[in-house]
């Protein structure tokens, strides 16, 4: 009996597993084998060099610098995006002040406005911000000037002190709308009577948020954290458009960009693939850590 069930399961799994093996696992294996060569990208044969590429990588200051930038993105982008997302979602759903558990006035409009950046393709977003950050005719410097804060104007993408932060701001701007919608949906699935009960017990709006809403959203926040982590490790398209050579003094170089420039700019496919292998190992490590950190806590079902 049990035997027959196994066979059916195997039958159903065979095709997807074969596809997964051919399209996902085998490129991984191939990439790993390329990372052990000094392949330039144009020849049929790939000279084997063992772990040379990895050895170089560990001694390459540009690699560590790029890794550091990814680390900063990983820390800041999820934190700021989720905090803003939660704040806006709370205002849109339970922030109203007229007695009922509802959003602030005009919340339907805000929801659309917040979501708008998310439907723009990344490249369009980047080009848009290129104009905003333009030091000559840009909206940002012009705006600062207009309200008498001209002293705060910067060469946003040309100054190593602010370039990376300028890019982080774009990532947050483009990302926050999606999480507002995600958290809104999660908040709406929390039964209203829980909020009403809390209110009857005398809880204020801030207390309701920190004691009731946030704990009940923990799983959504965790998923958001992972998606944003992926985003922070990649960040390729946006960075390639806004600072195509890695920014002033390499101040905005991230791993994916360093990989691309090594392969397609410098003809070092073997080395670039080694960077790629490191990047995927980091991704796996990060995923493992995220889930370990939250495994043992109890989930509240409703």
């Amino acid at each position: 009996m049990n035997h027959g069930k196994t066979r059916i399961i195997l039958l159903f799994l065979a095709l997807p597993l074969a596809l997964y093996g051919a399209l996902v696992v085998s490129p991984y294996a191939q990439a790993f084998s390329i990372s052990l060569t000094s392949w330039s990208g144009f020849t049929a044969d790939k000279p084997f060099v063992g772990f040379d590429n990895f050895q170089r990588l560990f001694q390459d200051p540009d690699f560590w610098q790029a890794l550091g930038h990814n680390g900063l993105l990983l820390l800041v982008v999820p934190l700021v995006t989720i905090a803003l997302g939660l704040f806006f979602a709370a205002m849109l759903n339970v922030g109203g002040s007229d007695g009922k558990v509802a959003g602030v006035r005009g919340s339907a409009l805000y929801r659309r406005v917040y979501f708008l950046p998310h439907i723009l393709p990344v490249v369009i977003t980047a080009i848009l911000w290129q104009f905003i950050y333009n030091p000559q005719i840009g909206l940002l410097n012009g705006g600062l000037d207009a309200i008498g804060l001209g002293g705060l104007a910067h060469t946003w993408l040309g100054d190593p002190a602010v370039a990376l932060w300028s890019l982080i701001a774009v990532m947050v701007w483009a990302g926050v709308g999606f999480y507002v919608v995600l958290f809104s949906a999660a908040m709406q699935s929390i039964p209203r009577d829980i909020f009403e009960a809390a209110e009857l017990d005398g809880a204020g709006r801030f207390q309701t948020l920190t004691r009731i809403t946030l704990p009940l959203l923990r799983e959504s926040v965790q998923v958001a954290w992972i998606y944003l982590g992926i985003h922070a490790l990649d960040a390729f398209a946006l960075f390639m458009v806004l600072t195509p050579t890695g920014g002033p003094d390499n101040s905005t170089m991230v791993l994916s960009q360093y990989l691309y420039l090594s392969a397609f700019g410098n003809g070092k496919f073997g080395y670039a693939t080694a960077i790629g292998v490191m990047l995927s190992l980091l991704s796996l490590l990060l995923t493992a850590l995220t889930f370990r950190g939250s495994r043992d806590k109890n989930t509240i079902e409703f």
Partner: protein, 474 residues
């Protein structure tokens, strides 16, 4: 014993999806690097050699031409293909005008099935050094020794401008044909200069005095595109060094010699450029502009001078105001008694055409290049693009109504054989990367001349000591 069946909840599904997405994010980039192994036959079509068909091409063999479709468009190549068709009516020609040369052709190189002629240009061109080091290109010695298309008594080589082939010469072998002859220098609006009574100076001091006057008139003297092309402004540094100390100074840099970046003329040149930065002569915010934005600011009159190659007229023609009257000014030397005359020019032959070693119709590829170097093809190119080719005097002094082309023709005649170029950036991609980033630092005033030169010397020493990098000598 727990007998409860495992459940698959909405949450664990989300979780599993997230894990998968995480894993895939790293591998997407890797998959792009994966490739198929292949070993190609290097046989090429062959016919009988005659006086008009010096390479002995197979007249019925198909010809596969891939051209970069950028600032010069690809109409000129279609014109040249027609010339080829007229000569060999049986040959079927396939033409493609593309912008992403590397992206589209890399798989064909790996599979051993490259086109017969490639215009390897544009932002996505394939690094020449990489192709040469991998033996992917055919040597063009027989093309240079062949009779020219116009005159059977003159070889192709003798119809070309001096030292234009340096850029594609690797260890004494010519591996590509740079078709477009570009001179680098400052560009300005004659109308603007006439309005203020400014004239083009003959010494560097004259230029800095002019810059002071321009600044006083409320215009930024210089602009550059710091995010994408700070190295456009590196050409004046090399021009100053070469005019002061002679071409050996820049050859030493190309050859990665010890202390090449510390030579006195190079130091003086770097300090002169750094002086422009410290005097505040650059358009404010240049370090945050890309080259298109910087060039736009320049044609709009926000900056008076822009340093670029002679392609700039064609590149900006859509937005250059009428009556701008764009003209060329060569980089003035540091002193009047330098090693090279004041009229010497940094000339780069660009738009490099190559014939892959594994091309199916390798001989046809070379014949196509020979036809491109005919007077008819070359003057058609100059007429449609206002850019010169490396074919000597193909259009005489006809400027086709362009002030820019007219001023370039004058400068080229004045320079004569005093043309120079540097190659380390195309030979060593790593060096180019470092140069761009460090030179941007210099222009933005983040480092001084001494620090710039010592960083570049350290990078050159690193590359010289790295056995995994193929070295070239000039």
């Amino acid at each position: 014993m727990n007998t409860q069946p495992p459940t698959f909840s909405r949450r664990s599904l989300l979780r599993a999806t997230a894990v998968a997405a995480f894993a895939v994010s790293g591998s997407g980039l890797l998959a792009a690097c994966a490739s198929a192994d292949g070993d190609a036959e290097s046989g090429s079509a062959k016919g009988k050699a005659t006086a008009t068909n010096p390479f002995g091409i197979d007249e019925s063999a198909a010809l596969d031409v891939v051209v970069f479709k950028g600032g010069y468009s690809d109409e000129y190549a279609k014109f040249d293909e027609e010339l080829y068709s007229e000569k060999y009516p049986k040959a079927k020609i396939s033409h493609s005008g593309i912008t992403e040369i590397q992206t589209e052709l890399q798989p064909r190189f790996v599979a051993g099935n490259p086109p017969d002629v490639i215009d390897n240009s544009g932002a996505k061109k394939i690094a020449m050094g990489t192709l040469v080091a991998d033996d992917q290109l055919a040597e063009l010695a027989d093309l240079l020794k062949a009779p020219s298309a116009d005159d059977p008594d003159t070889t192709v080589e003798d119809t070309l401008l001096p030292s234009t082939l340096d850029v594609t010469t690797f260890d004494g072998k010519v591996m590509g044909l740079p078709y477009v002859f570009t001179v680098n220098g400052f560009w300005y609006s004659q109308t603007l200069f006439d309005k203020h009574g400014w004239t083009w100076p003959t010494t560097w001091d004259g230029l800095t005095e002019l810059a002071a006057k321009i600044k006083k008139a409320g215009i930024a003297p210089f602009a550059y595109g710091g995010t994408t092309a700070p190295d456009y402004f590196f050409s004046p540094l090399m021009a100053l060094a070469a005019k002061q100390g002679g071409v050996d100074v820049i050859k030493a840099i190309d050859n990665l010699e010890a202390k090449a970046w510390q030579a006195e003329p190079v130091k003086a040149a770097a300090e002169a450029i750094a002086g422009l930065a410290s005097s505040g002569y650059f358009l404010k915010g240049s370090e945050g502009l890309d080259h298109t934005q910087a060039q736009t600011a320049w044609v709009q009159g926000k900056a008076a001078l822009y340093h670029a190659g002679s392609y700039v007229e064609n590149e900006m023609k859509a937005i250059t105001p009428d009556g701008f009257d764009m003209v060329f000014g060569p980089v003035p030397p540091l002193t009047a008694d330098g090693a090279l005359p004041q009229s010497a020019l940094h000339a780069v032959a660009g738009e490099i055409f190559v014939v892959p070693a594994k091309a199916k119709n390798l001989r046809g590829g070379k014949e196509f290049l020979r036809i491109m170097l005919s007077k008819e093809a070359a003057s058609n190119f100059t007429e449609t693009t206002h850019a010169l080719t490396i074919v000597k005097g193909a259009t005489g002094d006809n400027d086709f109504g362009s002030t820019a082309l007219g001023s370039v023709l004058k400068a080229v005649t004045a320079a004569g054989d005093d043309l120079f170029n540097y190659r380390f950036m195309s030979w060593y991609a790593d060096m180019a990367t470092t140069l761009k980033s460090e030179f941007a630092n210099l222009l933005a005033g983040r480092i001084d001349a001494a620090e710039f030169l010592s960083t570049m010397q350290a990078k050159a020493d690193d590359i010289a000591a790295d056995p995994s990098i193929t070295k070239f000598k000039i």
